[in-house]
Symmetry: C2
Subunit: 205 residues, 2 copies
């Protein structure tokens, strides 16, 4: 395909490719799917399951999570109130850039505070980009039983301070676009629900 | 195409889609094309011309520039030495995330200090992602004659302090992957050179 890019086909442009042009070529619209929920609720498993399903079907999708954010962009942030707020703000701005580039962008962070998530929503509304808040509302008891990273155990033992659900609040979304209970919905079922939602909104074509 | 995504086709995944899988589907490899040069040197015009050429040919490309970074991710940074360094660090980390997502990512910032650019290069090397430094080495005299934003005039009048090329140094890359003189190379010609380079490296297939 690249052999088609010849000098004669290249014209001078001063600004970005428009979203409409990108959308036509990609058969999708950029959007942020913001997963929020307790540690161990299943956010990442759902996000990765959806990412694979989308990419295998020719769509552009990418997951922003602790692994690629905390050790990179946000490695100079700690866990103070101000740093937690800045952590979510930066993730929101990066998700917005990805969405502007036409990517279906999934973020998988506890993001416990309503005000931080609402700020990210406002950024997207301002940028005319879809923001889809997905509450993975698996009950604390289930998350604590699963405890995949042993964090609840540490928090209960007092070795981790300010742990969401134990000694720091989780503020559930008041009006999320979708709510998923990962105790009764498998990651596959959740991914199917999400694909149907994206189709219903014209985000996937 | 999305009608193909059915419950039976979706399998449970715990981690990211691999770069190999993405590369096969996208017919391209993610990479960062880092444009550096004086204000008015032509970085953005080349980057946008290349972005349009790539997207129109079915490739995924996106430009990070002052417009989408300074008012968003980096709006809480000023122009102190520490903030300038953090500005480039964050842009480098975001470019790395885009490249990891398989996107041909162009950055258009003066980025005058060698140490800051080398830090971004190191991030990419560590992440096994191509980093292509492109020096747009239009001479200061030409940039100042063009002065598209009237910034040189302000700097000469002392209304702008620490302006690169006037009262702050520009440290040219010692070993850039490509050098473009925008006084003798049109944006179209530059875009063709860059496409040829990307093909020669197997980044475009």
């Amino acid at each position: 395909m690249s052999a088609e890019i010849k000098a004669t086909n290249i014209t001078w442009h001063e600004g970005h490719v428009t979203r409409e042009e990108r959308g036509k070529l990609l058969k999708q619209q950029g959007a942020t799917l913001w997963f929020t929920g307790l540690s161990g609720s299943g956010k990442s498993t759902i996000a990765f399951t959806l990412e694979h399903a989308l990419v295998q079907n020719g769509y552009q999708a990418y997951v922003l999570d602790g692994d690629n954010i905390r050790h990179g962009l946000n490695k100079n942030l700690g866990f103070s109130a101000a740093d937690r707020e800045e952590n979510i703000r930066r993730i929101g701005e990066v998700a917005k850039l990805f969405a502007d580039a036409g990517i279906l962008t999934m973020t998988s962070f506890i993001s416990p505070y309503r005000k931080d998530r609402d700020l990210v929503r406002a950024l997207h509304v301002e940028g005319k980009l879809p923001f889809i808040e997905i509450h993975v509302n698996t009950p604390l008891e289930t998350c604590e039983q699963r405890d995949p990273k042993g964090l609840y155990k540490k928090a209960r033992a007092g070795q981790l301070k300010g742990f969401t659900g134990i000694d720091d609040p989780y503020e559930a979304p008041l009006n999320p676009e979708l709510t998923i209970d990962a105790t009764t919905t498998s990651p596959q079922q959740a991914a199917v629900l999400l694909v149907q939602y994206l189709e219903s909104q014209g985000i996937l074509r």
